[in-house]
């Protein structure tokens, strides 16, 4: 029974509408909401790995602009992709992003995110933060690139200790496509293989 109640609380927390949670919803609210929920989710030991992954996917779908990131990572190849290739790619790419981000966040289990600044860079909002360990003052520097989309703020890149996830993955995806004579299917296969391994 207590487990059911805890699961209900967790689900309610993840599904909590952002408009209710914060009146003045902005880029830093989007980041802090996402990070808080993700860290709680990662520390919730009663969930199986699959349940945790599913809930994390819901979070990523809600707070990240996956179609925009997906197109950016494909580079010039998204323009030549057929609708079928694009659909297949977007489906497996979302799973892969969840897998990659979940692995990154897993290592920060038990730590907290401190947001210490927000600034404009062109048309993006950049939220500066640090993941702080309770054991020491050392922390990992994280910057979140946020863009406004349909009146909501969505994350489009995470920069961990100076390394952009989007730029790194874009070069990796391009490399796979180039090595396979421009085949997007080869990329989709590689992404699928990784999440099923």
């Amino acid at each position: 029974m207590s487990q059911l109640i805890r699961l209900f609380i967790l689900f309610s927390f993840i599904a909590w509408p952002s408009s209710i949670a914060t009146a003045a919803f902005d880029a830093s609210s989007a980041v802090s909401e996402f990070a808080d929920k993700a860290i709680i989710l990662m520390s919730y030991s009663d969930l199986s790995e699959t349940e945790r992954r599913d809930k994390f996917e819901q979070l990523v779908q809600k707070y990240f602009d996956l179609p925009v990131i997906g197109k950016f990572l494909l580079g010039k190849y998204w323009q030549t992709a057929t609708q079928a290739e694009w659909d297949a790619y977007l489906k497996v790419f979302a799973k892969n992003i969840v897998y990659t981000y979940a692995r990154q966040l897993d290592q920060y289990f038990g730590q907290r995110l401190v947001i210490y600044g927000i600034r404009k860079n062109g048309r993006f909002d950049i939220v500066s933060s640090r993941i702080v360990s309770p054991k020491n003052n050392e922390g990992v520097r994280l910057e979140w690139v946020v863009a406004k989309s349909n009146s909501t703020f969505k994350i489009i890149d995470v920069i961990i200790e100076g390394m952009s996830m989007s730029i790194t993955q874009r070069q990796e995806y391009t490399s796979v496509i180039q090595a396979n004579a421009g085949s997007i299917k080869a990329l989709v296969d590689a992404l699928s293989r990784q999440i099923t391994e």
């Binding site: 694009w86 989309s149 890149d157 070069q171 995806y173």
Partner: protein, 238 residues
Amino acid sequence: MLRLSIKKTFILFLLAGCASQEKFNNQFVSDPIEPVNRLVFSMNDVIDTVILRPTAYTYKSVIPAPIREVVYNFLDWLSSPIYIVNSALQGNFTALEHNTARFIANSPMFGLVDNATGLGLERWPEDFGQTLAVWGVYDGPYLVLPLLGPSNLRDASGLLADYFMDPTQHIIVCNDKQMRFQATRNVGEVIDFRARNYQKIKNIKETSIDYYARIRAIYKQHRNLLIKNNLSSVEIMY
């Protein structure tokens, strides 16, 4: 045709286009000898898997964290003269003052204890590869060096200059002792680096679909960050 909302297209355009094409192109790596690099990378990866990773794991597991910290501090202190000379060559007087003060603050304990960071003088590594970049030298083709890993023509040349800048290379007490000291130092630096980045490397490897391409992209971004003296990556990339 792909279905695209106007706003999505606009954001994408900002991401890939307005985000200064020059800045964006700077993140791409010229890799004309990719097949050779991939071969060397694979050999390095085998060496890492068979020798380095287990050694780093044992080092992490057996040696207590405070002692590993002392080793890290000492190795960094030994490189301080290289940081100082390169700061001067770059004409970066803030870095010169910072690295000199840091060296002096840590010298009473021969660098074993990092007093300087507590005084606000955090690590600020400078090498000749960075100096060349400040002087306007392009990075040139990407190279994977045997045992040493990712580099490029500019940074590989810089390694040679840094070797001659290092005072410990010129203090000749006895050739045999000198060689053993340098060998121990180099091995220590490699194991220390691998142990400190153990989890990161594991995550990178496990989440990559092309490990070689990911390391190449990370190396480029990391070097750009060092050259720009940790100016926020956002300003470098977007």
